[in-house]
């Protein structure tokens, strides 16, 4: 009987202790929205991948960078491609939408404009200087009179058989004239389609 009393006492004590408080306001944050930080984004056709960010807003008003956790998509892959937190042009000019999504519950989108490359600026080349590496500085002229834009991406450079390209970067090409000829043609092929050719015989004597 003594044992029964002890057990009953323990149970009653526990029962009284158990009558505790209830949490009535959740201490946990919940997701309210996601948004692309930039709106009406523009990229150049020859621009390297543009890095973007997306922000998640919680129900308590705090925010956090959620760029890496969302699905990024382009509405037209023929205009630009989207991958996690970055976009890159796939056409010379065009408009499409960039969207972010999380499990079809949260999403946002914004417009993206790919600026069109019109012409390319070249510095001079001395085609009489055979065998010496020479640097040609290049830049793009874009729509809306934007000039001196670097050529970081989507351009394939080639030269005719009278010269050799030895180095390429976003602003310059190192080229060596191999033969004493009257003309050297340098070609820039954009998106494997549009060709911008420059005949250095015409621009330098």
């Amino acid at each position: 009987m003594q044992y029964l009393k002890k057990i009953t006492f323990i149970c009653l004590c526990t029962l009284l202790i158990s009558c505790g408080d209830n949490t009535t306001v959740s201490p946990l944050k919940d997701v309210s929205s996601i948004s692309i930080d930039d709106t009406n984004i523009s990229i150049y056709a020859t621009q390297a991948a543009k890095t973007l960010t997306a922000t998640l807003t919680y129900n308590d008003g705090t925010t956090v960078n959620a760029s890496a956790d969302l699905l990024w998509a382009s509405s037209a892959s023929g205009v630009f491609n989207a991958s996690t937190a970055s976009i890159v042009a796939t056409s010379n000019g065009g408009d499409a939408n960039l969207s972010i999504d999380y499990k079809s519950t949260f999403n946002d989108f914004t417009a993206v404009h790919v600026k069109k490359l019109l012409t390319i600026n070249y510095s001079d080349l001395n085609i009489s200087d055979v065998g010496t590496p020479q640097t040609i500085y290049v830049s793009g002229n874009y729509e809306n009179n934007e000039t001196n834009i670097t050529m970081e991406n989507n351009i394939l450079w080639s030269v005719d058989s009278n010269a050799t390209i030895t180095d390429i970067n976003a602003t310059q090409i190192t080229l060596t004239v191999d033969y004493n000829v009257t003309s050297i043609e340098l070609r820039a092929t954009l998106f494997n389609a549009t060709i911008y050719a420059e005949d250095f015989n015409k621009t330098f004597n």
């Binding site: 057990i7 149970c11 158990s18 505790g20 209830n22 949490t23 997701v31 960078n65 519950t105």
Partner: protein, 161 residues
């Protein structure tokens, strides 16, 4: 087979949150009141707290769980004290942007006694300590799991055949 009624107090270890209310357990088992037994049970835990839900709902949903316990009891002639250990799983409804249910798993241990009333009926008094681990809460940038300790004091009546 039998039914228990009890009260519980739940305290979370990683967040400042508490919950307390009633618990009803339906159970069926096989074994000897004086030795070993296995017990299967369904829990219904009323929920008066709002720990996981983020909407205007007044509380999270009630919990329904299933448990399996192994027990050893001791013959003291007029009493049969026991110890139980087991595990379980269950779920509750919640209201969050990305989740509407939350599963949990638990490990539990109990001490108590059976008090025989007749050859077929006995009363059960007990105390249970239950460790519960909840499914991760998804906040897009993180999946965070929470766990709690639940103290349960209960009494019940069993019918044996």
């Amino acid at each position: 087979m039998g039914v228990n009624y009890g009260v519980f107090s739940e305290n979370f270890s990683d967040i400042d949150a508490k919950s307390s209310s009633d618990i009803v357990t339906l159970k069926i088992g096989y074994g000897d009141i004086k030795a070993y037994a296995v017990e299967f049970s369904f829990d219904y835990m009323q929920n008066n707290s709002k720990i996981f839900s983020s909407t205007d709902v007044s509380s999270d949903g009630d919990k329904i769980g299933f448990n399996i316990n192994l027990l050893k009891s001791f013959d003291l002639n007029y009493l049969y004290p026991f110890i139980k250990i087991g595990f379980g799983a269950g779920s509750l409804t919640i209201e969050r942007a990305l989740q509407d249910t939350l599963s949990y798993g638990s490990f539990q241990g109990s001490v108590g006694t059976y008090i025989p009333l007749s050859e077929s009926f006995d009363i059960e008094l007990g105390y249970e300590l239950r460790h519960t681990s909840y499914e991760s809460i998804n906040t897009v940038v993180a999946n965070t799991s929470y766990s709690s300790l639940i103290n349960i004091a209960y009494f019940g009546i069993n019918y044996r055949y």
